[in-house]
């Protein structure tokens, strides 16, 4: 396999010489406590450009009652850890989050392609060597709350199985600390939180601390943001890619922002501005959970087979400009290949750096997973200090 590990980018990690173990043939370089290996590969549903990590869930305060769950989608476009109930062992006995009147709080995770319905529960979350204690997470499709209220199911498709979610869960590590934020603390109107007494579910306000949290912000250290580091891959794609999810920005030797270009983002939406061919996309974002670069460009022919994706006659190269809310602009190069021919010519590849598709929002450039290959991309959480400034920002 021609896939290269990204280790050199992150292996400032410690070299442990475990001579005492004698006879081990394994590579003895061990990643640092703040580095979680991540992979791009077929995953449970054979999707292309899906980034996965393994996350360990523990009963509150009980480090010996834990379960490691693989193929959790790493998603910088959402906030909070959400896991399918079918993937969780009942023996974890996760504690239900209650409101001040003792009613169970149930969430409606909103995604462009549908919703995740399920209770908010408290767990200790371990990723690499980091620990978040008593973290509100969502258990998707928990049979305790089988009836989805219309206010949630009306969003679209139920993302309630491995097949529909494309993963066993979602690790939402955006630049925000809460999935909804102040809007849901002040009003029930966003439709993201419900209380569900036995009489039935109703919309509810939920305080910030009881909402789903970005797990990274709950860590006792390395908690001001993350870095996603993926290696460059061939233009023909790769069957699988190994990379790193590094916690903290400027908190350890291995996560310094250095000379990374910082893009401060809108405090409410997490957006910045992309300019391409004199077209301004004022509502742009970097999303590891999108499997392509999605932007409206009437000049690029669309595919016949892969509906909504781009199929230019030959690969096209572009230079875009990204501009943060501080007005500083910088250039980004990217390529758009013919999705139909690329996928058919490389049937064993699941990672591609040159996939793009159309976007019905002419003001939005969605920098999906192709953007991440060959880069270290930083996501600083809102309100958090880092050596490169206060979050929220993205950087690379």
């Amino acid at each position: 396999m021609s896939v290269r590990n990204v280790a050199e980018a992150v292996a400032i990690g410690i070299l442990l010489l475990m001579n005492a173990c004698g006879g081990s043939k394994q590579d003895m370089s061990v990643t640092a406590a703040n580095v979680q290996p991540v992979t791009v590969g077929p995953g449970p549903t054979n999707n292309v450009n899906a980034l996965f990590a393994t996350v360990t869930i523990c009963t509150l305060g009980n480090a010996s009652n834990c379960q490691a769950i693989d193929h959790i989608l790493v998603d910088t476009g959402s906030t909070g850890l959400r896991i399918l109930s079918t993937q969780l062992s009942p023996s974890l006995l996760l504690q239900q989050q209650m409101d001040s009147s003792g009613n169970p709080i149930v969430g409606c995770g909103q995604f462009a392609n549908g919703y995740t319905w399920g209770p908010v529960k408290l767990a200790d979350v371990r990723i690499s060597g980091e620990l978040g204690s008593s973290v509100p997470i969502q258990v998707i499709a928990d049979p305790t709350f089988p009836v989805v209220p219309p206010g949630c199911s009306s969003i679209g498709t139920a993302l309630n199985t491995v097949q529909t979610l494309g993963a066993n869960g979602v690790l939402g590590i955006s630049v925000f600390q809460h999935d909804c934020g102040i809007a849901c603390a002040q009003s029930a109107s966003p439709g993201i939180y419900f209380i569900c007494p036995l009489s039935g579910c109703q919309l509810a306000q939920v305080s910030l601390t009881q909402q789903l949290q970005n797990p990274v912000g709950t860590f006792s250290q390395d908690n001001n943001g993350v870095i996603i580091a993926l290696p460059l891959i061939p233009v023909t794609g790769a069957p699988s890619v190994n990379g790193s999810l590094i916690f903290g920005i400027g908190t350890q030797d291995n996560n310094a922002p250095g000379s990374a270009q910082v893009i401060p983002v809108n405090l409410n939406s997490g957006s910045f501005t992309t300019v391409l061919n004199a077209v301004t996309y004022s509502n742009s974002f970097i999303d590891s959970g999108s499997n392509a670069l999605f932007f409206a460009d009437g000049g690029i022919p669309l595919c016949n087979s892969n509906v909504g994706f781009d199929c230019p006659a030959a690969t096209q190269d572009f230079i875009a400009t990204n501009q943060g809310t501080d007005g500083v602009a910088s250039q980004v190069r990217f390529s758009v290949a013919n999705t139909d021919s690329l996928l058919s010519a490389n049937p064993t590849s699941f990672a591609f750096s040159n996939l793009a598709g159309t976007n019905s929002d002419a003001t939005s450039f969605d920098w999906g997973l192709p953007f991440f290959f060959g880069r270290k991309v930083f996501f600083a959480i809102e309100g958090q200090n880092t050596p490169a400034g206060v979050g929220p920002y993205m950087a690379y």
Binding site: S154, G270, V307
Partner: protein, 146 residues
Amino acid sequence: MLLASIALVMLALPICGWATLGESSVSTETDRASMNASLRILPASNYSIHEIQAPSGLTVREYVSLSGTVFAIGWQGPVMPDLRQTLGSYFDRYTASAARKHAGNRHIDVRESDLVVQSNGHMRSFSGRAYLPQLLPQGVTVEEIR
């Protein structure tokens, strides 16, 4: 750009509301009231836009032909719209098609001969549109629907 050239006729019109794709724009006052939303109507050359602003910050625009049929819906805001209401009888087709063709994908682009639904964005910033290609008034481009 489009709306900038359109005169604002009425603000917070106390009638009408959430209409449904493919049906007449006859009001559903209860829906508007339950959303506690405000409505304004913006006339364009050969259709009008019923723009609904919900307290959540969500904006839904319904594109109504001169004969009174809703031929398109556009949305933008920090939360997703009630697509069951706005897509009406097309909602079940949309969800079935989205689940079948786009399982695991964040970006929805359902294109059938008589129904297009496109949904984009991320938590705290969503946008999308739905339209009935066969009912688009002559001269109306898809780009106008937003």
